[in-house]
Symmetry: C2
Amino acid sequence: MDSDFIRFQKFIERFQILNSDDKEFLKSSTKTITLSKRTHYLESGRVCNYVGFILDGIMRTYSIDNNGDEITMYFIKENQFAVDIESFNSRKISDINIQAITDCKLIQIDFNDFEYLKNNISSWGQITLEITNYALLEKLRNRSSLVAEDAPTRYEKFIQEQPEIVQRVPLIYIASYLGITPQSLSRIRKSFLKKSVINKAP
Amino acid sequence: MDSDFIRFQKFIERFQILNSDDKEFLKSSTKTITLSKRTHYLESGRVCNYVGFILDGIMRTYSIDNNGDEITMYFIKENQFAVDIESFNSRKISDINIQAITDCKLIQIDFNDFEYLKNNISSWGQITLEITNYALLEKLRNRSSLVAEDAPTRYEKFIQEQPEIVQRVPLIYIASYLGITPQSLSRIRKSFLKKSVINKAP
DNA sequence: GATATTTTTTACCAAATGTTAAGGAAGTTT
DNA sequence: AAACTTCCTTAACATTTGGTAAAAAATATC
């Protein structure tokens, strides 16, 4: 659909204005795809060949630790990118997984088209660098503040910083992001509930 | 000293070649400074007005949590940058602190000179973006892998990923980075010692 | 609508980590 | 050299979190 591309274009233009030829060209290089809940967009062990711009839905990136447990690294949602930048740029196999948590709609550019864009849109390199930067800063900001707190504080901060995610994502993934078991998170939520009941009492 | 600048220049040229005018210009915009152990390079509540390139020494960035405790976000060492990018770019006050852990020597550019460089070296924007990107990816990679593990595993991974830091930084800062108390870290180190003794027995 | 599947909650016990307190080693300053 | 910081370790006890198991609740699938 045309409006899909327009949303993507608007995002891009926050960083740099493209001329109409560039826009046409960019448009012809993208396609819209859908992913249903719980399916994978990227699996570790493969090279990341696509950049996906999320139009609708929430995804997560996760890796597998030495015990075989999944570790959710971060959540991505509308107007963010689904890609393993390091694998995409270096052409090496990825060690992360990207999975749709809800049904998702993405705009996608594959690696070859992306190279073509680099060579044919003079500001493309600059645009993508700025976008990458922006995304990395966002992720780092969210992450660093979490490590050293205890679990209830991590959860509280997460609610403040990413309230939308809490509403839209199953708790098991949030627990995995916070580095605790779903059982622990359930316990923490229960104790929060009690507190808020006490606070709201007359 | 001249060799100070040359080390900085070599780092820069990994990203983009500068012509000799640009180099001269860059050189005239930098100065070398020293910081003694435990002094602050940036304090929260102030705008970050400098970019420092570390020639010698190790620094850390930390923030203060709601309990008033320090949380070490990451360590930076030789060939890395001491700067709060967000504050430097946006000119807003910073909420992080940057502190020398060992005695440090830095090459420094102030904000005005940096703007001047942007306007007078055509590739400067590109260079700084690439450097920022590189640094952010490194930090994010180190961080995400730590959150969900238990403390002994976090310490083990830290030793593998940043062995130099372990040698050169007091344990209290490492504990703060790993999100545990110095007492816990001491306990963990002790149990590691026992293990390695057992493993090395005939 | 009945049946799977996924997600959330509860409970009990074990293990890990924090808290508090204190002492000693190593390095700095006076 | 003495006094002062800073850093590291140890210990006892309290608290938090994990592991295991199971059931209830919510969703998805047929």
